[in-house]
């Protein structure tokens, strides 16, 4: 289960961090951009997996909180010329958490399929609103994002990708650490008890609905942060962020890496980002390819991609 505090794991974690730190040394701004993208997706998926993997709730609307974070940054920097990094990021997280709290309250009272359906419906509300409130949001064209400023430095994915990469990396490591703490905290254990057996959880005194709500709120904090970091990276935000198919991407990325493994969503997000950049480079039929991939995964990988590969390989090795 997750990390163990063994020497082996410490070495592995250190190696990974060093590897991540050294990516800009390659000197390719495209690589930096791609790495930023992967890390932003990772933050999003880590928070999302607190719900999916640890509480057993399938949300099909987490694009909404990602989008709220991104749009808040865009509107603050472009419409109001507020570019201070802590102010902008803080507001973005607050806004998405605020809506997450309200919508989470309405959704967490429901189970399984109904929960998925409701989260999807609410995310499409924001999608529709971005078109209606075009004076603020720029409608279908979206709006541009100005760089964030801190201590005289400018942070954006358009300008100096190296500094932006380190900013994203910092937040990624922070997210990784905090979500690891949450998963191994009493609250995290309570969530896992709810996931495994809601009836038992309730009958050892866990207020199940309330804890599901809390888990929802926590996950929207991560979504908001990821969205806020996404906006300056692209320099432009569009309503598609609220579309439910965007929410589907985080579900897919999480399953790709395995929602039962702590680090799974991160691996999934990295693989997903790389795969998408390659596929979109060779074909314009990305949704078609993604759709086919999803169908294949759903039909032929009953325990998730990593899980199924693991079981198959284990069987193979045993036979040798």
């Amino acid at each position: 289960m997750g990390f163990q505090n063994t020497l082996y794991c410490k070495v592995l974690v250190l190696t990974c961090i060093l590897l991540l730190l050294s990516i800009p040394l390659a000197g390719s701004s495209y690589l930096n951009f791609l790495a930023c993208m992967a890390l932003v997706y990772s933050i999003w998926a880590l928070g999302y997996n607190l719900l999916l993997g640890y509480t057993g709730l399938l949300s099909f609307g987490h694009g909404a909180y990602f989008g709220l974070g991104a749009y808040t940054v865009a509107i603050l920097t472009t419409r109001y010329s507020i570019q201070s990094l802590p102010v902008v990021l803080g507001t973005a997280i607050l806004v998405s958490t605020f809506f997450g709290t309200i919508i989470g309250y309405l959704c967490a009272r429901h189970v399984a399929k109904y929960f998925a359906l409701l989260t999807l419906a609410f995310s499409q509300l924001f999608y529709a609103l971005t078109f209606k409130l075009y004076k603020w949001t720029g409608g279908s064209d979206g709006i541009g994002v100005k760089p964030l400023k801190l201590l005289g430095l400018e942070f954006s994915g358009i300008g100096d990708t190296v500094s932006y990469y380190y900013l994203v990396l910092l937040f990624f490591l922070l997210s990784l650490y905090t979500s690891w703490r949450i998963v191994n905290s009493p609250f995290g254990k309570a969530l896992q008890a709810i996931r495994d057996n809601p009836l038992k959880a309730e009958s050892i005194g866990i207020p199940v609905k309330r804890y599901k709500w809390y888990a929802f709120i926590v996950s929207t904090v991560y979504s908001g942060l990821a969205g806020a970091l996404y906006a300056p990276l692209f320099g432009h935000v569009v309503p598609d962020l609220f579309h439910f198919s965007f929410s589907g991407e985080v579900l897919f990325a999480t399953l790709l890496g395995g929602h039962r493994i702590f680090i799974g969503p991160v691996i999934g997000a990295i693989v997903f980002t790389i795969a998408r950049s390659y596929i979109t480079a060779v074909t314009i039929y990305w949704p078609l390819v993604l759709g086919l991939l999803l169908v294949i995964v759903a039909l032929f990988f009953p325990h998730g991609v990593i899980g199924t590969l693991y079981t198959t390989l284990k069987g193979r090795f045993r036979r040798l």
Binding site: F60, R109, S245, P287
Partner: protein, 292 residues
């Protein structure tokens, strides 16, 4: 008073279309236990097929055939999808069921884009050709009336199939308790296929019916899907009566909203949904349904 009547009729028109889509979706949800995220795509496909056919047949009386043909093709597609793809994931984890129908939705909408292009197809000529009718001194399009009547007839047909036939009895039994239906020797596989066929036909016909009044364009799939979700949540999962009342409510909100509060029309529909959720979490006509 005429303007009031006009809005109400518009509301009925929207409600008719919504009812056809959402009753198919709620049937599939309650009988097979699948949230079919590709349902909106079937609707969009129905719209595109009908639009293409009407466009080429516009000056002949055969244009009317576009509607049954669109419904038939989409129905077959729904049956095909159930038989060869969805069939494999009944009883699997919800995660993979949703992943699958989501994947299907992506595939279908992208294929629609590839086949029919990104430009909307308008066949407003048919809408104009059916003419207008004089009600209390003001004119109202005949086409809207036709749609309202057609969907009422289809609604009655659904009711007859569900409550007056053997097949309907089997469908209702499956919706009530799948394991029990299997235990008494019902071929649930065939019932599921039939449900998907019915659902897809309903989606196809509603897409076809909406085309002359608006257009076949990309993106209407998600709108239709989400609006029928709202209808289902308001009416209660698995209830055709609920779908009817829910559609009527959302249809009327929409027709009044477009004129009086265009910016927040959709938000009002959501607000109604939220109120229903808080007061009656199972929807107006929803049964208590199982945790699994």
């Amino acid at each position: 008073m005429m303007w009031m009547l006009r809005f109400i009729l518009d509301g009925f028109f929207y409600a008719s279309i919504l009812f056809l889509i959402s009753s198919g979706l709620t049937l599939i949800f309650s009988v097979a236990g699948i949230i079919n995220l590709a349902h909106g795509c079937l609707y969009m496909l129905g719209a595109y097929i009908a639009a293409t056919l009407i466009k080429s047949l516009i000056d002949t009386p055969y244009a009317i055939l576009a509607f049954p043909v669109a419904a038939f093709i989409v129905g077959l597609l729904g049956l095909f999808i159930e038989r060869f793809i969805i069939r494999w994931i009944y009883g699997r984890d919800l995660v993979y069921q949703l992943l699958l129908t989501f994947g299907l939705a992506l595939i279908l909408s992208d294929i629609t884009r590839i086949v029919f292009g990104t430009e909307p197809i308008y066949v407003t000529k048919l809408y104009i050709n059916t003419g207008v009718i004089d009600i209390l001194g003001s004119f109202y399009p005949v086409y809207n009336f036709i749609v309202i009547i057609v969907s009422l007839i289809i609604g009655c047909l659904i009711w007859i199939i569900l409550y007056k036939t053997r097949i309907g009895m089997m469908i209702r039994a499956c919706a009530l308790d799948r394991e029990m239906s299997e235990a008494i020797g019902l071929n649930t596989g065939n019932v599921f296929s039939l449900t998907f066929l019915m659902g897809a036909i309903l989606a196809g016909i509603s897409g076809a019916l909406v085309v002359p009044q608006s257009a076949a364009m990309l993106g209407i799939d998600a709108d239709a899907l989400v609006e029928s979700f709202i209808v289902i949540v308001i009416g209660g999962v698995g209830s055709i009566k609920g779908a009817f009342i829910g559609s009527l409510l959302i249809g009327l909100i929409r027709s009044f909203g477009i004129v009086f509060f265009p910016e927040i029309e959709l938000a009002i529909a959501y607000l109604v949904m939220i109120v229903v959720l808080l007061v009656r979490p199972r929807g107006l006509f929803g049964r208590e349904f199982r945790v699994a």
